[in-house]
Symmetry: none
DNA sequence: AATAAATTTCACCAATTTTTCACCTCGAAT
DNA sequence: ATTCGAGGTGAAAAATTGGTGAAATTTATT
């Protein structure tokens, strides 16, 4: 297994590399989020171990960026006391969480858990089905009654985000923050328009994208 | 939101104050670390923007001192080229960093990022059950005997608020203030009408919404 | 540089929701 | 039993919201 280790501290990278290689995996390193994103674009990894606090581009932003193009399992490394990040992390697609300082045993257990979880999914084809709507996040494909739907990048991201948070009410504000990015300073109605486009592409399955008046939207089976 | 701006340069304080107030926040100022620590002891702020370089007591020492008594999010302002120990900053509880010269957009984005991150606390998709009345706050769903109740936005908010304060007597005044907002300028009877609508939607479970004559309402199991 | 594609903004419309208000009912205190 | 104030009710007016298509802007591609 190819594992990418992302942390700005060389010592931590070295420690992690040792754990990882001890189990017979191949280790790669990146010193910050920028580098991690670049490496993930150019190479195929099976797992990413990502620190939260890093210069240039923090861990969360890096994960968000990586998940746009690749659906690689991610385990986040965070310093103790960062309780607040967990829900957010889950939303952007983080698979697990380890708090520093960590033990070798703990890290390896998490890595094995995540990869095993994935393996099961892959063998059963990691395609989410909602009646005739098929969503393949890894391959960035969406099928409506077996026919491929041509979505724009924002539409994919919006749909994937909604699906990841299936059943949860999402405000326009939250959607803008999480799908468009924390630095998007624009109009609320932007969401409406993209929802409109997404719905028109989902044809009859537009029904899964539910409007919550006075609030926002949610995906519901 | 109450935001404390700490910088020894009056001009920088003025600029930051403008950004901060433009977004509808309340701005307070301190000219050095000493003053900042004193103000934080005596008042409640939601966020501190702290310069690193200051006379009397530098930014880091001030943050360390403040964090001893209050857990307020802090964003540090540092001049370009000043490489500080990020790990140390993180350890003492600095939430983010902005390098001078900064743009309004950048500063506001960081402020929003930090405060939003803090705001997330709720975990899981919990469903509260009161006999045949099921309430899913995250998904904004209410079921009456297994059938979905279609509530209007205000009805959801009102119900959720009542449930969150289950067993507690709530005056109309308090309901208006907390559910409608502090800036609602209208009639008391508005509450009555919404209670009426809510009750009619809750069918037999209207019994949980109890009238307290001469006082207001409460939710009681 | 030109063209195409995607994204964002905007103004209007229809539908829903909220608020107000006049009138009604109930229950406690006299 | 009567009175009085508090709460319930329905309907109409007022306000808000979301959908929509087109235009403007940004971004990517040739």
């Amino acid at each position: 297994m190819k594992i990418l280790i992302v942390d700005d501290e060389e010592m931590i990278r070295a420690v992690l590399r040792e754990y990882v290689e001890f189990e017979g995996n191949e280790a790669f390193e990146a010193a910050d989020g920028m580098e991690a994103v670049k490496l993930c674009r150019e190479n195929e990894y099976d797992l990413v171990l990502m620190d939260v606090m890093m210069p240039h581009l923090d861990g969360f932003s890096a994960v968000k960026e990586i998940k746009k193009t690749k659906d690689i399992p991610v385990i986040m490394l965070s310093a103790r006391g960062e309780e607040y990040d967990k829900l957010f992390a889950f939303e952007i697609g983080v698979d697990d969480y380890v708090t520093k300082p960590f033990s070798p045993k703990e890290v390896m257990a998490r890595i094995n858990a995540v990869t095993k979880r994935r393996a099961v999914k892959v063998s059963g084809n990691e395609i989410l089905k909602f009646e005739g709507l098929e969503i393949d996040m890894a391959g960035r494909n969406v099928y409506v009654d077996g026919e491929k739907a041509e979505l724009t990048p924002k539409e994919y991201e919006l749909l994937f985000y909604l699906v990841r948070n299936k059943g949860i009410a999402l405000t326009r504000e939250k959607l803008l923050y999480d799908v468009w990015g924390f630095d998007f300073y624009g109009d609320d109605r932007t969401v409406d328009t993209h929802i409109k486009m997404l719905r028109s592409n989902l044809k009859e399955y537009r029904k899964f994208v539910v409007t919550l008046r006075g609030l926002g939207y949610k995906f519901e089976e």
